[in-house]
């Protein structure tokens, strides 16, 4: 059903997507650090103005609608098209998208159900190792990716009982302990390559290897372009799924569990069941992202899945503003791209992120974009 403002919404979505694409294009194409700095400055000013005038809030609130998702997807495709023969840029884009997907998983756990997970990188790693082990076999690779998610969810289910029995700091400790445990386990376990890690063959669907560069319509296309497309697809699917979950009665149940367990229980909402559902779904999403990421990079080692990386994932969530998908996407881009484009700060990136997160927590605890309240169904025609 089209409501009266539909045309305007499509238009504004298209404009926003085009602006975003242009900004990202400028950022990705920029060669010198001065240009990158200038673009960042411009973006910061634009965001500041947008925040003051409230335009940004309105735009971002619409960010999850299918129209907006579609336009952003098209914008992403356009970017992939523009950079079709630049492996480095494509790799950056794909990585940002996969980090975004992993953070969506965390988002379901932390922002929706309030279950802390400080072992995000560990579940990402479970997905990656699953892809590494199963990818050698005869199993078709799309199924391998699904299996990555399933195994991550299964491993996560080991933590379910401890997580349900505890809460707050104690629950956080359990995930932290698991993250450290997982990494130590990988390092001492020879079957999984030990500290050296494992090599992977690339993604292969119906005999079509994603690793090879090839010619399409007479144009050389880097293999990473295909991974990028896969990542775009995965990200869109994940955003769609998370949005559906949030806007359904499941989302309401999760909100209730997060905001007040006692009240939720009084209304007959099973706390355990929804925590389990959110934690498992989140881990599955993280696992799939981990699987695709491992196949794309072609190599995994315990060092990629440190506690530090888990913290980076959680900080993406907080920087973007807990509970806001659009903020999440922006934060994922910043966290993945900034250190790569500004090489001088590469070495200092953890320091920078940690200080940034502390500042955000102390000065603007809501993150980049405030969490929007759930609005009654029907008030936004999706």
């Amino acid at each position: 059903m089209r409501s009266p403002g539909a045309g305007r919404r499509v238009l504004s979505a298209a404009v926003l997507a085009a602006l975003a694409a242009l900004l990202l294009y400028g950022f990705l194409a920029a060669e010198s650090e001065t240009t990158v700095g200038l673009i960042l400055l411009g973006a910061v000013v634009a965001v500041a103005v947008g925040l003051r005038t409230g335009v940004l809030d309105r735009l971002l609130r619409a960010a999850g609608t299918p129209t907006m998702l579609g336009s952003l997807g098209l914008a992403a495709l356009a970017l992939v098209g523009v950079f079709h023969d630049d492996p480095f840029v494509l790799l950056l884009m794909a990585r940002a998208l996969l980090v975004l997907v992993a953070c969506l998983g965390l988002h379901v756990q932390l922002a929706d159900a309030g279950v802390p997970n400080f072992a995000g990188a560990a579940f990402f790693g479970v997905g990656g190792y699953t892809a590494a082990v199963l990818g050698r076999g005869a199993l078709p690779h799309p199924l391998v990716l699904l299996a990555s998610g399933a195994v991550a969810a299964a491993v996560g289910s080991l933590l379910l009982l401890p997580l349900l029995r505890t809460r707050g700091h104690y629950a956080a400790l359990i995930t932290i302990a698991f993250g450290l445990l997982f990494r130590t386990f990988l390092e001492v376990n020879d079957a999984l390559g030990g500290p050296q890690g494992l090599k992977l063959g690339g993604l292969r669907i119906l005999g079509w290897s994603f690793n090879d560069d090839r010619q399409l319509l007479g144009v050389d296309v880097s293999g990473y372009a295909f991974y990028c497309l896969a990542a775009v697809g995965l990200a869109l699917a994940a955003v769609w799924l998370v949005r559906r979950v949030e806007r359904s009665w499941i989302g309401i149940a999760l909100d209730a569990v997060r905001l007040d367990e006692t009240a939720a229980a009084c209304f007959g909402i099973s706390i355990g069941r929804w925590k389990i559902a959110a934690f498992t779904l989140g881990n599955a999403i993280i696992g799939v992202a981990g699987g695709l990421s491992a196949m794309m990079v072609g190599f995994i080692a315990p060092n990629n899945f440190t506690f530090q990386e888990s913290l980076v994932l959680v900080s993406v969530l907080l920087l973007g503003g807990l509970g806001n998908l659009a903020g999440l996407a922006v934060a994922a881009l910043i966290v993945v791209w900034l250190p790569e484009k500004l090489q001088p700060i590469q070495e200092y990136r953890y320091l920078l992120f940690s200080v940034l997160v502390v500042l955000v927590l102390v000065l603007r605890p809501t993150g980049l974009v405030r969490r929007t309240l759930r609005r009654p169904f029907g008030s936004v025609a999706a």
Binding site: P162, Y170, L173, T184, V188, L361
Partner: protein, 296 residues
């Protein structure tokens, strides 16, 4: 011997966690990195002394310990002031994350700005290295001295908490902040002093760690912090005896995992953390649990 040493070290870290949790109901996760920073501060003091030409071991040891504990006491108070107090009333997860990130910042600062900080640093052996052997068992004097010092420190802390005015104030704030305030206790002062004391304990543990292994590493604080926190949680956050008990329990688990179990000793941390998770599942608020009714 090894186990006792580790247990004491963990207990010292756990005591810090338990103190912080007592007064402010927060988990200060930069604690492990404060420990590392303390060890590095001690090392820096030692290097300074060597440059200044002080060669005698006793003044060296004193200066190292004092430099580490005092500087970390100040740092701990600053962390409490900057990271924890402003977030009072915020969701506990925010505090957790803020301190985790504060700890990361600290760790990165050591790695990036301490000369050669990204490599493991040799820690000088400042204690006499005599040892007695009894059959297969060797008792080293330096270990005995460290354990003695650690035990004295724990006992001293318990005395301070139970017999002094400051201890009374800390316990009062831990029990009920508002009532303590109405009784004229300067809340901020108590909190910051508690942070200073806890962080000094961690610094002492850091120096112990350095003396014991003769090596310190910028990243070792994270694991020690998590272990200390696990120990505090095992014992029951906010409980003095619990923290000590938890520290020795964790060390015992590690030793057991390394010695007595049928798999490689490299799995000792895996084993210890698994048991921690299981124990927490069994007793969600620690062995000596918080006995608080849930307020709705």
């Amino acid at each position: 011997m090894n186990g006792v040493m580790l247990g004491l070290m963990y207990a010292l870290v756990a005591l810090g966690f338990t103190l912080f949790f007592g007064v402010l109901d927060v988990v200060q996760f930069a604690h492990g990195d404060v420990l590392t920073a303390g060890a590095f501060a001690g090392l820096a003091a030692y290097t300074g002394l060597v440059h200044a030409g002080v060669e005698a071991a006793v003044p060296q040891l004193l200066v190292v310990v004092l430099a580490a504990t005092l500087s970390m006491a100040v740092l701990g108070a600053v962390l409490g002031r900057v990271l924890v107090l402003p977030l009072k009333g915020a969701p506990s997860l925010n505090v957790l994350l803020a301190t985790l990130m504060g700890g990361t910042a600290l760790r990165e600062c050591i790695r990036l700005f301490y000369p050669g900080g990204s490599q493991p640093q040799r820690f000088p052996a400042l204690l006499p290295s005599a040892s007695w052997s009894m059959g297969r068992f060797t008792l080293r004097l330096d270990n005995v001295l460290m354990i003695f010092a650690g035990v004295v420190l724990v006992l001293a802390l318990s005395l301070v908490l139970r017999r002094t005015r400051l201890g009374l104030e800390i316990r009062a704030v831990a029990q009920d902040e508002e009532t303590a305030r109405t009784m004229g206790i300067d809340f901020r002062r108590v909190v910051l002093l508690t942070f200073a004391i806890g962080s000094a304990l961690a610094a002492f543990a850091g120096v112990m760690n350095g003396l014991y292994y003769n090596e310190i590493n910028f990243g070792s604080g994270l694991l020690l912090g998590v272990i200390g926190f696990s120990a505090a949680v095992l014992g029951g956050l906010g409980s003095f005896e619990g923290a000590v008990l938890g520290g020795f329990l964790f060390a015992g688990l590690q030793t057991l995992g390394a010695v007595a179990l049928p798999f490689a000793s490299a799995y000792k941390d895996v084993f210890a953390f698994t048991i921690v998770i299981l124990l927490m599942t069994w007793k969600p608020t620690g062995l000596i649990g918080e006995r608080l009714g849930e307020r709705v």
